[in-house]
Amino acid sequence: MNDGKMTEGIIYMDHAATAPAYPEVTAEITKWFSGWYGNASSTLYSVGRKSEEGVARARAQVAALLKTSDREIFFTSGGTESDNWAVHGAAIANRKKGNRIITSAVEHHAVLECVQYMGRQGFDVTVLPVDQYGMVDPAKVREALTDDTILVSIMHANNEVGTINPIVEIGAICAERGVLFHTDAVQTVGKIPIDLSAVHVDLLSGSSHKFGGPKGCGFLYARKGAKVDPYFHGGGQERGKRSGTMNVPGIVGTGLACEIAGSHMAQEAARLSAMRDELQKGILERIPDVKMNGHPEKRLAGHLNVCVEGVEGESMVMCLDMNRVCVSSGSACTTGSLEPSHVLLAMGIPVELSHGSLRFTLGSANTPEQIPYVLDRLTTIVGKLRAMSPTYRKR
């Protein structure tokens, strides 16, 4: 799927961090830098109108993927901006109605940190627990809803373990109570079907580089009538909702990536889950004392998160890198903080075990013949690191 020339010989299994752009997307984007370079707001002349057309087509492509109207799609600089806009904008716009924001313990930091910030600004915050798979129970949302709740923000699928939340049920509960429902769908757009004509979601965040589009671009879906203040104030682009000169190359690439991802979503999910299941089976067969994380079925096709007892995550990531395999670890050391993964801890995984987490996220850069090699390397690495560990004892 990617041209693979620069990364030849490297096995990239960290698609939840970022994914290669589709070559068609890369080719399309380049036309909009110095070719059709117009400002999409300068519509009185031809060059600007061309950019406006490009943006309009992209907006329609995004809307088509999500089965909604293009008037409800607003382009942003990516997932973090979309999440911040949704939380901040909804809280500020509705603060006369109430003061409570509900979220979950396993949200991406772009939501969690933003909600905590709003808490420091005087909003009341409820952080819902999750079950052992990292899933939010809709009944818990119902219990937590108070008369002064103005926003519920629950992610569609978790970035670390891939567990998919029941957003249909959660959305229905929020709709019943007239409370805005935001979902961070950064991991799911282009991966699993999202039908906004059938599910009650008021706000939905997407990030282009996660599904074959460019970095630095994303969008927020805001249902018509959803009361949300702008986050970026300025020249009034995006119908006054999101100011700032439009990132035309990024937006055009986002639209095309939506179209391509949407055209083969089911096939790609089947291809990825077959490889993922092979990897999972191999790990369970060959490496003792491991724990698979995330929901066994309601999980993204490419996600595999495993805790390896007696080994620290960063060491495994480094050893795999030396074998030209790129994966990530929820373990703190890789991300530069000393705290273990808040997601794994919220799922009730002991701190000691959470340090040994490893995340494989498969995607367009992967092929089935890579799996045996990765399994082979991983088995050797875990054996070597365990032999070095003062705590690990073979059972």
């Binding site: 080994v311 620290e312 373990s331 530069g336 273990p340 701190v351 560990s389 003062p390």
Partner: protein, 153 residues
Amino acid sequence: MYSEKVLDHFTNPRNVGEVENPDGVGEVGNPVCGDMMKITIKVDAKDLRITDVKFKTLGCGAAIATSSITTEMAAGKTLEEALAITRQAVAEGLDGLPPNKLHCSNLAADGLHKAILDYLSKRPEVKINVPEAVIKRSQESEEHDHDHNHGEE
């Protein structure tokens, strides 16, 4: 993020394992913190020299690399010389460590000192100069084990 030296010691760690019938054992860190080290030493009773030193470490790249280089620095040294090996010297020996790795992951010198103190506790007749800082560190490391307090470093 890591220097070539860290990667070298991480990839080819020196002196992995446990010394048989060790004269001193030093364990530092805890699994909740994510880094644990066990240093075992063999000491020549006559000239008070470390004749063998090995490590076992659970931890990140920095934890493994610092353990490896510490054993290399300690091998063949007298106990007094080995007690003078500081965390800073270990980090410098590796051409530096990322700032967030200086505390938790750089425990190997403490582990080595603990192993020496363990040896000395079994040989009260041996009188050598133990630096104040080492004694303080060893007490702090006990507290660290219990409180899991990531202090400023």
